[in-house]
């Protein structure tokens, strides 16, 4: 009881300070800005024949009212739902009547009632896909091609790798570390880019920190608990393979998310070349997953599970990206993926650390080669 009271004393004092602040009218600190500070995020743009629908979110301090909207220097009529002001953090859909033309670019300028302008643009107008079974099937197919199939193709290297000696095994593990570090950096960069588009209340960088660190710490904690249970080399290797595929899976979720949202907006560069590039890059992910298993005989079912775990989330990602309108969420997923792959890289690093004294160049070249491999295949998809 006494403890509780001791804890409550500062809170009571705080209440007193706040009351004093309010009673004295902010003690002269409540200066209003000359013009209201407003902030609007454009979360989604959908195009249907003769109309453009914007999903906007008020990320400012005060409620926002829309004044007028000009699209490509034309004042366009619009309807907004829910009608009236948009509360802080609230969202609204704004539908513009506008005869847009396929393939043209549009700049949309929204003025709030306080005459604060916000702009967004459409790079190339195209009909937004309806949310239907065939669209979902399309997403699944993309996820399959860019995520699941490449990972499985990579796994097919297992018989060949098994013919290699222990030195090659270490080199492969180092290569996997390189792959994972590169994927981690890539995911962080993409998360930062997306975070930049978020309104300030979302605190994008903080969100990335929370996502990445919690994925890292959680996987680390899980691995330590497991390590206490089994410590023979076979189970350690399988555990690492599993965690690599989990990390890569999380990463592929983020990748799928980006593809899904781009595809929904008709902005996805999904030409043959692009898809082939994705397959090439993600094949290396399959390689990373099986690297720890080279010295043992995992069952087909187990390998299948690893492949699904590594590639399957790409499918889930495309669905999420296509159906969900929250950009903050993609930031979290990208950060989770980054944390996961970096943790696995760290884990493998610990695993092969004891060999680093005997094979320093092998490990060094493996890591650099792994990063270089993703960099080069990245040329095909960036």
């Amino acid at each position: 009881m006494k403890t509780v009271i001791l804890f409550l004393i500062p809170l009571a004092l705080l209440g007193g300070v706040i009351a004093l602040f309010i009673l004295t009218g902010g003690a002269g600190l409540d200066d209003k800005p000359a013009a209201p500070v407003e902030s609007i995020d454009f979360e989604r743009i959908q195009l249907h024949e003769g109309s453009i629908t914007l999903t906007i979110r008020n990320t400012g301090q005060e409620p926002v009212n829309i004044g007028y909207i000009a699209i490509r220097d034309l004042v366009a009529e619009y309807t907004v739902r829910p009608s009236g002001g948009i509360p802080r953090m609230g969202a609204a859909t704004v539908t513009l009547a506008y005869p847009w033309v396929e393939g043209e670019a549009y700049e949309i300028l929204l003025f709030t009632a306080n005459a604060i302008p916000f702009t967004t643009s459409i790079e190339a107008a195209t009909e937004t896909l309806p949310i239907s079974l065939s669209t979902l099937l399309g997403f699944t197919l993309i996820g399959l091609y860019v995520g699941v199939l490449p990972v499985f193709l990579g796994i097919f290297w297992l018989p060949a790798l098994r013919r290699l000696g222990p030195k090659a095994f270490t080199w492969l593990m180092a290569l996997t570390i390189g792959l994972l570090i590169f994927l981690g950096i890539d995911a962080i960069a993409e998360a930062l880019e997306k975070a930049g588009e978020l309104g300030s209340p979302f605190q994008g960088p903080g969100l990335i920190g929370i996502g990445a660190i919690s994925a890292f710490m959680l996987l680390d904690a899980l691995s330590k608990r497991r390590a206490m249970a089994n410590c023979d080399e076979v189970s350690t290797n399988e555990r690492i393979a599993l965690r690599i595929s989990m990390g890569i899976g999380l990463h592929n979720l983020g990748e799928g998310l980006a593809i899904g949202s781009a595809f929904m907006l008709g902005e996805a560069n999904l030409g043959m070349f692009f898809v082939i590039g994705f397959i090439l890059q993600n094949i290396t992910e399959g390689l990373g997953i099986i690297a720890p298993l080279v010295k043992q005989k995992p069952s087909l079912k187990y390998l299948g599970l690893l492949g699904l775990l590594g590639g399957g989330p790409a499918i889930v990602g495309t669905w999420l990206g296509g159906l969900v309108t929250l950009p903050a969420l993609s930031v979290v997923f990208l950060a989770l993926g980054a944390g996961a792959v970096l943790e696995v890289a760290f884990e493998i690093g610990k695993f092969i650390a004891k060999k680093s004294s005997t094979l320093p160049l092998t490990i060094c070249s493996g890591v650099i080669f792994g990063m270089g491999l993703l960099y080069l295949t990245g040329f095909l998809i960036k």
Binding site: G67, T93, F111, A115, P313, T325
Partner: protein, 341 residues
């Protein structure tokens, strides 16, 4: 193999977490974003009327603070008296004041005005009249009245800023014949003009211009809502789309005279295009002989002229800047022509 599966006992938890995330995000996104396939949206695309720019809602006289329709035909001839030497004296009272004007539905702009309206009062006199303009500045910034015309330097409204609360009397002879602008000449000039401190000054020839049925004043301008030295909206007589939402009613055969002045800041050239008709154009109105018979003229800032025309057929006829960007951002109006009852 069994061993392997057992060892991967965190697998189900992993899959469950993914599914849970998916479900949660879909629920969240459905609750925040409105449905997309909405019959309401379809209304817009299947409308059979012509697609036109403009606001869905109207701005009314209460929000604007003055009546753009009244401004069209409102001429201030001043308080007329005769001087000892027999000349006509005209006296005008002008106050500069700040006014919050609803320039688009729900969008309010702090305009700087002469007599609570933009454009300011149309000051009208006859060539040779003595003019006395009592100007009072009721704003918190210095302002002046700078008339285009012929007058002494001390009456030019450039080097004699009228401070807040102060007054100044501009006194000069009305010259030359024509239509001229007046505006504030305090620097930075672009700000003072674009805020609304401008108006029309008409000098009629002795005996007047030839008789017409109706005379109107149109001042072309823009509004820079966000102060980035670029106009966001355009208009004649300050309120975008006003004569588009409220067509100007005229009759077949009525002879119209329009005093057209361009006070547009930031953009280099403005223009006026009349639909389905041609007009006689008198640049600056200094001659009684038309310089051109056309349907489109252009004006740079402070350029002005007089247009005369009449309509033969009933119907709705647009008039607008033929810089179509300006037209679609508000500089659009309509003449609605009907049979004379």
């Amino acid at each position: 193999m069994r061993m392997a599966i057992r060892k991967s006992s965190i697998l189900p938890a992993w899959i469950a977490a993914l599914v849970a995330l998916l479900v949660c995000t879909i629920i969240v996104s459905c609750s925040v974003a409105a449905p997309t396939n909405d019959p309401h949206i379809m209304d817009v695309s299947t409308a059979h009327t012509a697609f036109m720019p403009g606001y869905a809602r109207d701005v009314d006289v209460n929000g604007i603070g003055f009546d753009p329709m009244a401004i069209l035909e409102d001429f201030d001839n001043g308080k007329v008296s005769t001087l000892p030497d027999g000349r006509t004296l005209r006296e005008y009272w002008i106050v500069s004041e700040i006014m919050i004007v609803e320039v688009a539905p729900g969008v309010f702009y702090e305009a700087w005005t002469y007599n609570g309206r933009v454009p300011g009062p149309t000051i009208r006199a006859t060539e040779g009249d003595m003019l006395r303009i009592y100007f009072t500045n009721a704003t918190m910034h210095p302002h002046t009245m700078h008339f285009h015309g012929i007058h002494p330097g001390a009456m030019d409204g450039v080097f004699e800023p009228v401070l807040p609360g102060a007054s100044f009397v501009y006194e000069f002879e009305a010259a030359p014949v024509g239509v001229h602008p007046y505006h504030c000449h305090i620097m930075p000039l672009a700000s003072h003009i674009s805020r609304g401190l401008y108006g029309t000054f008409i000098v009629d020839p002795k005996g007047g211009r030839p008789q017409v049925d109706r005379e109107m004043v149109m001042v072309m301008s823009g509004i820079d809502l966000d102060f980035d030295n670029a106009n966001d909206l355009y208009a004649v007589n300050f309120i975008p789309f006003y004569y588009d939402k409220h067509p100007i009613q005229i009759f077949i055969g009525e002879r119209l005279r329009i005093y057209l002045v361009n006070m547009l800041e930031f953009d280099a050239v403005n223009s006026f295009h009349l639909h389905a008709n041609f007009f006689d154009y008198y640049p600056t109105g200094t001659s009684l002989v038309p310089a051109e018979y056309t349907d489109t003229i252009s004006q740079v800032q402070a350029q002005r002229g007089i247009l005369e025309f009449s309509y033969q057929f009933p119907g709705k006829y647009m008039f607008h800047a033929h810089k179509t960007e300006f037209a679609e951002l508000g500089w659009t109006g309509i003449f609605e022509v009907r049979e004379k009852p």
